[in-house]
């Protein structure tokens, strides 16, 4: 009877279940686990926050700082954040044993100093981001430390001065 052949299959196969956690878990080299944000590289630009499908990454102002928070409890391990990060600050790890009795363990934060407009004091962006922009592009630092409104005004004024309009253009 061919149905007895199942015994033959079973005997030949033996035990396939791993003795986890005593034995190493089976994870392939391509496995995507939780992410890590390197605070020394992060600019606080929020590109990762915009692309994150489940809102695991958030960027919120808190007092004088801007906080990038990663809540692994919401993470779906897609790794899109690492792909879009302009600073290459995010790495996808192979970690998946993330359970904890303490909710705080599931959150990690990168705190950024906020740069304020040197004229009117409006918060502009994280200081690290402005520094990176100044370094990467030929923007004069004088303009980079201004909020968009003051920047526009100063630009208009300087053009006005150049063409000699009275009052230095609209303001």
């Amino acid at each position: 009877m061919s149905l007895v052949k199942i015994l033959e299959i079973a005997l030949k196969t033996g035990r396939v279940t791993r003795r986890y956690p005593a034995e190493e878990p089976l994870v392939t080299p391509e496995f995507r686990g939780s992410i890590e944000v390197d605070p020394s590289k992060c600019w606080g630009c929020g590109a990762c926050v915009k692309v994150c499908p489940p809102n695991a990454l958030t960027l919120t102002p808190s007092g004088k700082s801007l906080v990038l928070e990663y809540f692994v409890g919401r993470c779906i391990f897609c790794g899109m954040c690492a792909e879009v990060c302009p600073a290459k600050a995010i790495t996808v790890t192979k970690k998946f044993e993330l359970a904890s009795a303490n909710l705080r363990d599931l959150r990690s934060r990168v705190v950024h100093e906020v740069l304020r407009c040197s004229v009117c004091g409006t918060p502009i962006a994280a200081e690290a981001e402005v520094r990176a922009v100044v370094k990467a592009s030929p923007v004069s630092e004088e303009y980079a430390v201004l909020c968009p409104r003051c920047r526009k005004e100063r630009f208009a004024k300087s053009i006005g001065l150049r063409v000699g309009a009275p009052g230095g253009g609209p303001s």
Partner: protein, 543 residues
């Protein structure tokens, strides 16, 4: 357009249809309320299946509420989409159920979600809960995503209260609920009550926090088993609507991963079927073989499930020599072990005797209800999206579509067994022909208010996504999972059959159920009620 299509269009024009747009293999027609039924009838007699219908609030664009009826002409590989616009003040459309029985659910869903009254048929709430306020339609654009309407409680309770613990176990994801009316041991009627956990995914995708790029990850979470089908179908719909040309290599990679997904899904189902039949040795071995495909999926994509590699315009992960090599080795192992197991399983006398002749769905009923996938193919309908509307790389491969005419549980089992072997051959051919080149387009642009229908053959059958593009995100995204089309067929399968066959028959459509489902049994003679437990390890799924 080919001659038969042209002839059909002429006929539809004579019946009052107005051609609005022809895009690729999709023909959009506007119909009036009065011409809808005759148009639907003409399409149905021409051999079209109803893929689904969708209510769309188009007031912000054209000042109307529209109901879209998506018909597919399998033999011609053409979709005909009827749009019936109505004003908000006079939002009524006639039912097409007498002509096209498969429209039963989607008509009711459109009524619930955008508030178009369906005339000429008994109506009830399908998707919305009983205590949802009247006149509030969640898919209308003026209904904000974050609104939570105050729901009233029923003031009077019946004197006698039955307390069924379940079917809604608080920890499980996807309850489905069948009321089986029995006379002795014979099932005389079946009432299905579903949508207990409607997740509002279509509305969520319209909410401010979602963009085109994020929706594939949301779509992938519609189903815990065939998630890649949904993300593929979403990106395909967007790519079709926007006219984005996807690199060939990306199409091949998508097809390979789709077939790997089919392998794991069918092996999962075969295990569950064995378990339901009390053959747990078969269950264990089916799942052991399935594990090879799960590990392979992780190696190819980065994740065992919810692969996350689909993006608009291509894929995120490339294949290399190591991966292709590992794939071929895994396929060889799976094939060898599966053939042995299938032979043993099918020789177990209890399996054959319990599966054959039970849960019969006739070809006629299958056609009327427009059932899909293995359920259709086991009832003699030659339907397979991969053949009828070839997408991605399926034009490049040759494979057989298993066809049975018995329409019973055994036929559905055999279809899936053969499909496992076909899938393995398909992947081998795809690897053999895998072209080089990029795996994604560098940039894309999606113009607003373009429409497209995409369909993919999921392990459970045809999955349909209909999209109207918007600004930065879909304007309307309609998903029709295969189980939506197949559940109504259960009534035909269960009626007149012994109660003991019900658990297997329900499972035979491979519904996406929670791990434990329950059925309440009413005995018509004694009026008593007991619950029947079906334990089948099927993880959660669809809408």
């Amino acid at each position: 357009m080919t001659e038969p299509v042209g002839k059909l269009i002429e006929e539809l024009k004579n019946l009052g249809g107005k051609v609005e747009e022809v895009r690729g293999r999709e023909i959009y027609l506007v119909a009036s309320r009065d011409s809808l039924r005759s148009l639907a009838k003409a399409l149905y007699s021409a051999g079209a299946y109803l893929k689904t219908c969708a209510g769309v609030d188009e007031r912000p664009i054209q000042g109307v509420l529209s109901v879209y009826y998506i018909f597919g002409l399998d033999e011609l590989g053409v979709d005909v989409i009827l749009r019936v616009p109505v004003t908000e003040e006079d939002a009524r459309v006639p039912t097409i159920v007498p002509e096209v029985p498969a429209a039963d659910w989607c008509e009711l869903e459109a009524r619930d979600m955008i508030g178009v009254e369906i005339t000429g048929r008994p109506v009830r709430r399908l998707v919305l809960p009983e205590d949802w306020p009247e006149g509030v339609y969640p898919l209308r654009k003026d209904f904000d995503y974050s609104t939570r309407p105050l729901r009233g409680f029923r003031s009077e309770l019946p004197e006698e209260v039955g307390v069924p613990l379940g079917p809604y176990h608080p920890a499980l994801h996807e309850p489905e609920y069948f009321e089986l009316y029995v006379d002795g041991e014979k099932v005389v009627d079946v009432v299905y009550r579903g949508f207990h956990v409607h997740r509002g995914i279509e509305k969520l995708a319209e909410s401010p926090r979602f963009t085109y790029k994020q929706v594939p990850f949301l779509a992938e979470r519609i189903c815990g088993i065939c998630g890649f089908v949904h993300s593929s179908c979403y990106v395909m719909a967007v790519e079709k609507a926007a006219g984005i040309e996807v690199p060939e290599r990306a199409e091949f990679i998508r097809s390979i991963v789709l077939e790997v997904e089919r392998l794991h899904s069918h092996l999962l189902w075969l295990g569950v079927a064995a378990h339901l039949l009390g053959y747990d040795a078969g269950f264990m071995h089916a799942w052991r073989i399935r594990e090879h495909t799960m590990v392979l999926a992780e190696y190819l994509t980065g994740s065992r499930k919810t692969y996350g590699i689909n993006i608009i315009g291509g894929v995120r992960k490339d294949l290399n020599v190591d991966k292709l090599d590992k794939t071929l080795k895994t396929l060889a192992t799976v094939r060898e072990e599966f053939v042995k197991l299938a032979e043993v399983m099918l020789s177990v006398p209890q399996i054959r005797s319990r599966a054959s002749g039970t849960g019969v769905l006739s070809r006629f009923e299958a056609r009327a209800l427009s059932v899909v996938g293995p359920v259709a193919r086991a009832s003699g309908l030659y339907r397979d999206v991969r053949k009828d509307y070839p997408y991605f790389a399926y034009r490049e491969v040759s494979f057989k579509v298993p066809l049975y005419t018995e329409g019973d549980n055994l036929a559905r089992l055999l279809v899936r067994v053969e499909e496992v072997l076909e899938s393995i051959e398909i992947i081998k051919q795809l690897i053999d022909k895998l072209p080089g080149g990029p795996i994604a387009v560098e940039s894309w642009d999606i113009p607003p208010y373009r429409r497209a229908v995409a369909a993919i053959e999921a392990p459970r059958g045809e999955d349909v996504h209909f999209i109207i593009t918007g600004v930065g995100k879909p304007y309307r995204w309609r998903v029709r999972a295969p189980t939506y089309q197949n559940i109504p067929a259960l009534r035909a399968m269960l009626r007149g059959a012994p109660l003991a066959d019900a658990p297997l028959t329900i499972a035979s459509i491979d519904p996406c159920f929670s791990c434990t489902d329950r059925v309440v049994v009413y005995d018509l003679k004694t009026g008593s009620r007991r619950t029947l437990r079906i334990s089948g390890g099927v993880p959660p799924c669809p809408l």
